[in-house]
């Protein structure tokens, strides 16, 4: 509960409800006030007309005319009863004063009241009326005051406004809290699921995944992004593990052989012929260790992507043709045929050194694993989206079970563990292709091993 009260959603809901309420109250107040002002303005107009009408009567017929007008010649001074009746029923009351300030007709209490709204009490403070008085002085020195009672409508509207605002506050505030709680609880629940998954992953179970609700809302988007990130992390993690295991194996094997060889050196120290042979083998083993490390460093250098800054536009046909010129005699000496078909003048952005290394790795792979007396072909041609370099041979190919793994670091078909090489050659090929924004694939359903390297176009 405490977590919910502290949640952003709750605070935001509360805050926005308060702002909303404030705006409503302000608008309502403004609206009501302008309505009331309009109402007062209308009564003032009415009152002025009334003053004018009575003035006309007085000027024509004098006091008598006024008495006639109110229909009661006998009663000249109104008592409270009559005045109250007049103010509530007709909305106004009158007071006529003589030149020497004596009440001649009407309601004496109007004397001395101002042109502002003033509260007037009747029947010993039992009833109240708000009355405004306008005064008119005549040429004979007499004067007339016309008192106007505030309309019922005014009181009704202002009362409604007050109670309205009161109830608005009483209802809206708790409602805002309740809505805020409900909303934040929902959000909290969804978020909490993600938090729990993240916590579990933090504790080491990398195969946890955030649950999806299938609503495709922002939480699902967050969850699926998280899951994609986790997939990537997990595959990197797995790579790292296999790489470490492979590295441990690939370094430990020659190291232990080397150590054995050193012991043999010790044993055979009196036999010069044996010594010479041991030393030669030890050198070769050291060379293999260094080579593995070198390739590993090279691989991480390529994968870091820094080389991309050095990319230039180059004639990839020329680069490849140059390598093939060098390797053609190597193939001949190995008793194999190298068939070349390059479309000249294909350009791309890249790093010539790396492309050369990539191609030599593929060529050497083909010499190493191809059929004796077999055929290797290299083709380069433009494609709709860049160019394709194909290096293939008619050898035994790659067993189905191994096809998906040959690009992994330190992976080697199990028979060839003892053979030269370190299982990094194809990893480097893949890394170089990917550095260039391309991809490499081993063609399935093909006799022999056929690799297709796709590269994006120069522009």
């Amino acid at each position: 509960m405490n977590k919910i009260l502290k949640s952003t959603v709750f605070r935001l809901t509360l805050r926005s409800s308060l702002v909303f309420l404030l705006i409503i109250v302000c608008m309502g107040w403004l609206l009501g006030m302008s309505f009331l002002w309009e109402l007062d303005d209308n009564t003032l107009l009415e009152q002025e007309e009334r003053v004018q009408w009575l003035t006309e009567i007085y000027q024509e017929d004098g006091l008598h005319g006024i008495r006639e007008e109110f229909g009661d010649p006998e009663e000249t001074i109104w008592d409270e009863d009559h005045a109250f009746f007049m103010l509530t029923e007709e909305g106004f009351a009158v007071l006529l004063l003589s030149a020497d300030n004596e009440s001649l007709f009407g309601f004496p209490a109007l004397r001395g009241m101002s042109a502002d709204w003033t509260s007037l009490s009747f029947f010993d403070d039992e009833e109240h009326l708000e009355v405004r008085v306008l005064q008119q002085r005549f040429s004979d020195g007499a004067s007339m005051s016309v008192g106007q009672a505030r309309s019922d409508e005014y009181f009704f509207v202002s009362e409604t406004m007050q109670t309205g605002f009161f109830w608005l506050c009483v209802i809206v505030l708790p409602l805002a809290i309740v809505i805020g709680l409900i909303l934040s609880r929902k959000v909290y629940r969804r978020l909490n699921e993600l938090v729990l998954v993240a916590e579990e992953i933090g504790h080491g179970s990398l195969d946890q995944r955030a649950p999806l609700q299938g609503k495709n809302d922002e939480f699902d988007r967050l969850a699926s992004t998280m899951n994609a990130m986790l997939d990537r992390i997990q595959s990197l993690h797995l790579n790292l593990e296999t790489a470490s295991a492979g590295m441990a194996h690939d370094l430990k094997t020659p190291l232990s052989r080397l150590s054995n060889r050193m012991q043999l050196l010790q044993q055979d120290k009196d036999d010069p012929a044996a010594l010479g042979q041991h030393l030669q083998v030890a050198q070769a083993q050291l060379h293999q260790i260094t080579n593995t490390l070198h390739n590993l460093l090279r691989l991480s250098e390529i994968e870091s992507g820094q080389r991309r800054e050095r990319f230039i536009e180059l004639d990839v046909s020329a680069v490849i043709s140059d390598v093939l010129d060098s390797y053609e005699p190597v193939f001949t000496d190995a008793g194999r045929t190298l068939q070349v078909s390059l479309v000249p003048g294909i350009r791309m952005r890249g790093d010539a050194d790396l492309l050369v290394q990539m191609l030599t790795n593929l060529l050497e792979n083909s010499i190493e694993h191809g059929r004796p007396g077999g055929r290797t072909w290299v083709r380069l041609q433009g494609a709709r989206d860049g160019c394709v370099l194909q290096v293939g041979d008619d050898g035994p190919g790659v067993p189905d079970a191994e096809q998906s793994r040959i690009f992994e670091r330190f992976f080697r078909g199990d028979i060839s563990r003892g053979a030269p090489g370190n299982g990094l050659g194809l990893s480097i090929v893949k890394a170089v292709c990917e550095l260039h924004g391309g991809s490499v694939a081993l063609l399935e359903q093909h006799t022999g091993a056929v690799f297709d390297c796709h590269f994006p176009p120069a522009a």
Binding site: H294, S326, V330, D353, Q357
Partner: protein, 225 residues
């Protein structure tokens, strides 16, 4: 021949020192770039071996300092770092050759001799000659005993390097470096194959064999005997 070795790792330094002394060289060893720069600028050496990673100053900067102060002695840079660009960077800084640790002593020796022969600031010759073989760099022709030989570009370059270092060992790695510019070690016998092609053209038709194989290391072109 006088060699200056600037190397902070005592074991490597003594390995180089011992090997070169056995070959009859006078060797001075410095443990830091500061001492090295001082020694290089106050004495005359035929060649300097410079470690890339030294305390105090990056070997690359030290080489720049040396070159800036008009020391033109050939420099061989040694490094345990082996990035793809490190070699180029080393050469750009003013080193004449670049070698990655660990290395075989034969390799170091061969490279040092090749460097020491290359006199600083002397323009390269156009015609190389040895044992009846004439190689013209400008015309790109090779003639042995009056017979013009047709060599492929790679073969021509290999012969050029062997002729420039005649009587000296040229290792496979040196050829790979200088002819192909490959910074990696191909598994196949790329160098051997091309050298043997060269041999069938330049040696087979004639009585005397010029190019000799030095087992396990490389090749040597011998004109005499």
């Amino acid at each position: 021949m006088r060699v200056l070795v600037i190397e902070d790792d005592a074991e490597t330094a003594s390995f180089i020192d011992r090997g070169l002394t056995e070959e009859g060289y006078a060797v001075d060893v410095c443990g830091s770039s500061r001492d090295g720069i001082l020694a290089a600028s106050s004495n005359t050496y035929d060649v300097i071996v410079f470690d890339r990673l030294l305390p105090g100053m990056d070997g690359m900067d030290a080489v720049r300092v040396l070159r800036a102060s008009q020391v033109e002695t050939p420099i061989l840079m040694l490094t345990a770092l082996d990035g793809i660009d490190d070699r180029v960077a080393g050469l750009e800084a003013g080193a004449d050759d670049y070698m990655v640790k660990p290395f075989a002593f034969v390799e170091l020796h061969a490279r040092l001799r090749a460097l020491a022969r290359r006199q600083p600031l002397v323009t390269d010759e156009v015609v190389l000659e040895a044992g009846g073989v004439t190689l013209n760099r400008a015309k790109r022709t090779v003639i042995r005993d009056g017979v013009q030989l047709e060599l492929l570009p790679r073969e021509f370059e290999i012969l050029d390097i062997l002729l420039s270092n005649q009587g000296q060992l040229v290792t496979r790695t040196m050829l790979l470096d200088k002819v192909w510019g490959y910074a990696f070690d191909p598994k196949t016998s790329l160098v051997q194959t091309h050298v043997s092609r060269l041999r069938t053209k330049i040696d087979k038709p004639f009585d005397k064999e010029l190019i000799r194989t030095v087992r396990g290391s490389g090749y040597m072109l011998c004109a005499d005997e």
